[in-house]
């Protein structure tokens, strides 16, 4: 696979995404749920909330990078975790 220049960090990133997808698929099969309506006023399932979390996290990371610079980037992950918790609790 060296001709595609894969690197460890990108591999870890995609493995985490894949694991999340598998986990949520298993959860959806084992514990089916009915969609609920949260603060956004839209019906969401666990999968929708995961999507909102991941997409939002991408923007949080970019905004953080733009404002604070690359050296402070790990802190953006902390904000993303808080954001994820908020999305899963209230959206």
């Amino acid at each position: 696979m060296s001709w595609m220049a894969w690197t460890q960090p990108t591999a870890i990133f995609f493995i985490i995404i894949a694991l999340l997808l598998v986990t949520f698929t298993v959860l959806a099969i084992r514990f089916p749920e009915t969609p609920r309506r949260g603060v956004l006023g839209i019906e969401t399932t666990r999968g929708d909330r995961l999507f909102i979390t991941l997409l939002g996290s991408a923007f949080i990371n970019l905004a953080w990078l733009g404002v604070m610079g690359a050296a402070m980037q790990p802190w953006a992950l902390l904000i993303c975790l808080v954001y994820a918790a908020a999305v899963f609790r209230w959206v």
Binding site: F14, E43, L65, A70
Partner: protein
């Protein structure tokens, strides 16, 4: 009869998954991978971390292209949607003319993008183009190769010329699905033309109009061929939209790393806006 739940059926979609992975998912992953690396050719890559993202976020180039793109999409939506609805309202409802008009309306949609670009590139030329020559003969100074405002006007009118009929056809389909009883009831109530439009036609068209907005937004946000053929992104960078800028970066300069980072941010914006549209659409349906 009780339905049996058998999740093994999911294995039947495996071939599709493999195909999509091969043709879409893995190439996208490769772009993510390249966004964090730098290369000087020979397929040798160096880790560059968040460098490209940082550089792009701080540069005016991407932001300017993004604002131009948003302005372009906003302007063409603001023109095409009302104009398409207006055209649909005036199209004949039945008879021979309904078919004739439908065929005529779908003609611009059948023309390939680069041909539309070429048509307008020649049409607008000052020396041999009908539009450019006529305008200048009338004493109106018009030159889309030198004046940014003229270039913008040309690109916008071209997009309106090409795509308004899509909106019109969608709106027409929405209008055709309204039963006559609604109009009769409105007539009994002596509703004005405006009220018929506001309380009968518009709500009934809302679903298809959302689809029209989504389609036109997506398409205009990713527009490349037409402005590239007409203006080539110029004069200067006046009509360099996101995809034109991206191609310049990726293929013109062969800057794979920055172009990959640029693509990812472009993709995220499209994903976000499409999700918003999709969510609004599905929620409209549910209330509907």
């Amino acid at each position: 009869m009780e339905k049996t739940v058998n999740h093994k059926a999911w294995f039947l979609v495996l071939p599709v998954l493999v195909l999509v992975a091969f043709s879409a998912v893995i190439p996208l992953m490769t772009v993510v991978n390249y966004a964090f690396q730098d290369t000087f050719g020979n397929n040798v890559f160096f880790w560059h971390g968040l460098g490209w993202f940082e550089e792009l976020l701080a540069s005016d180039r991407m932001w300017n292209a993004l604002w131009r793109q948003l302005a372009f999409s906003g302007i063409i939506l603001a023109i095409e949607i009302p104009l398409g609805v207006l055209v649909a309202l005036n199209m004949p409802k039945r008879g021979v003319w309904a078919s004739v008009v439908l065929v005529l309306m779908s003609l611009p949609l059948l023309i390939p993008w680069n041909v539309v670009g070429t048509i307008w590139q020649i049409f607008g030329r000052v020396d041999i183009g009908l539009l450019g020559y006529t305008l200048n003969s009338l004493g109106i100074s018009y030159n889309y190769t030198q004046n940014p405002a003229h270039a913008w006007a040309t690109v916008i009118v071209m997009d309106v010329w090409h795509w308004t009929s899509l909106v019109a056809l969608l709106a027409y389909a929405g209008l055709q699905s309204i039963p006559d009883a609604y109009y009769q009831a409105a007539k009994i109530d002596q509703a004005s033309r405006w009220k018929v439009f506001r309380y009968i036609e518009l709500p009934k068209m809302a679903g298809v109009l959302m689809i029209a907005v989504l389609l036109r937004f997506m398409d205009s946000f990713m527009i490349y061929t037409e402005p590239f053929v007409v203006t080539g992104g110029g004069p200067g960078n006046a009509t360099t939209f996101l995809s034109i800028d991206l191609v310049k970066m990726a293929l013109g300069q062969f800057d794979l790393g920055p172009a990959a980072a640029f693509s990812l941010m472009y993709f995220l914006v499209i994903l976000l806006i499409s999700w918003v549209f999709y969510t609004v659409m599905t929620n409209l349906d549910k209330r509907g």
